[in-house]
Symmetry: C2
Subunit: 252 residues, 2 copies
């Protein structure tokens, strides 16, 4: 097995970090590896914002629902869908850009996410740990303010990076065959579903969580505790408003 595959297979999300800062040359190298990711038409319609300042990390931590690693890790990287730079270039060259619509946002979001994942892989290959912050898209409106993002720019994900101060065991994944389809999508029977989730449901951690949360099963923890309908509906509205306010919903 080659080293890169090994790095990918060994991925673990790190939630506790040492105080050690990341040397500038290491951070530069992982960012340079990041921007080599594929990008639509080589437009590079993304930006990366580095947060290192301790006070800013503290504030960002609050915006990221107080996930402590945002304050503790030495570096936080926010990946933004960004058509602002490209649009400015077009206008300056007497070319009227037509990138103020949903397709363009999604194109830029794809660009940003591929770079983010490359950066994660590069970071882990250098012995660093990473953690993705889910709340980034929930809090896009507040992050736009926090980072002074102009129209045409929307944060799509955020990672913290630093030297691991824990050695967690690797989490489970669903059986490979259950996420892969050959030629056509093979929908799941109720027997398939039981079999796909059997291992996850049998884990000691799952049993602890069910007891702790006083529910019947793991699915109920997701639906009623972790990712609730009312929150999803609320943050969907926020995100769609952000798309409009940042100038990405002009397709009517």
């Amino acid at each position: 097995m080659n080293k890169t595959i090994e790095t990918l297979l060994n991925h673990k999300t790190i939630r506790k970090y040492k105080n050690d800062s990341i040397p500038d040359n290491v951070l530069s190298r992982i960012l340079e590896a990041g921007v080599r990711a594929s990008t639509t038409g080589n437009m590079q319609v993304y930006s990366i914002i580095i947060t290192k300042d301790r006070e800013r990390r503290k504030e960002l931590c609050k915006l990221q629902f107080n996930q402590k690693m945002v304050e503790e890790a030495p570096v936080s990287l926010t990946f933004c869908a960004d058509f602002n730079r490209f649009n400015k270039w077009c206008k300056q060259r007497n070319a009227e850009p037509g990138y103020d619509n949903f397709l363009s946002f999604f194109t830029a979001a794809i660009d940003a996410l591929l770079v983010a994942q490359n950066v994660c892989v590069a970071a882990e290959s250098e012995g660093l740990g990473i953690c993705y912050l889910g709340p980034t898209i929930y809090q896009a409106d507040k992050l736009i303010n926090f980072f002074d993002l102009p129209k045409g720019v929307i944060p799509v994900t955020n990672i913290v990076v630093g030297y691991p101060d824990e050695e967690p065991s690797q989490v489970d994944r669903l059986p490979m065959a259950s996420v892969i389809h050959n030629e056509k999508y093979k929908d799941y029977s109720s027997e398939d579903i039981d079999s796909i989730y059997r291992y996850k449901e049998s884990l000691p951690l799952t049993k602890e969580l069910i007891e702790e949360n006083q529910v019947d099963n793991l699915a109920q923890i997701f639906v009623y505790n972790r990712y609730k309908k009312e929150d999803n509906v609320h943050f969907s509205k926020v995100l769609l408003k952000v798309l409009k306010d940042q100038g990405f919903m002009n397709q009517d």
Copy 2:
């Protein structure tokens, strides 16, 4: 420099492929490395569809705006945002899922894109070449039909994979400093824009393209030939309709 960083820095999109098929164990390995990517709450809300069949590759090629490598490469992988499997599990466990909204779609799309990029890195580390197919999100409605995707499933990107039959030179990237911001977003002055795009505009290929397209500059090629406003508007509508039809726009 470590091997993984080297692989990332050497990335080139491959558009010509040998006939050689990919051994099953190699394909399995890169997919296994793929699903180790971070996923929101370990929900794995994505699916991967493998297209190998020659007739299907031919049809898929047509749907991907006749980009020949879709027919020529031995394998095409379509990465889908997929809440169908997760929703079925929830319902079967007496937990009513609330994942029929825009936030949930975007969460699942992030999941799918991180896996896609991991697969690309793994593939390149094994000597394979890859090419992302942009039209996937333009043609989501037709691909849903092509792959028999049920509600809750939307294709977000597609790559072809195979052994390279060309050695293209690496394309340019904007100066690193122009896509990186420290602490806050530093907006671009007109001098910044000139300086950021100077190298790209000076390339011999750029000059050829301008002559070929009979326009004044490179920006006009993007705006008036490659990614036109009317197409972006049209495909934005298609994509938003797909989101609605696949059950991801219930947040009103």
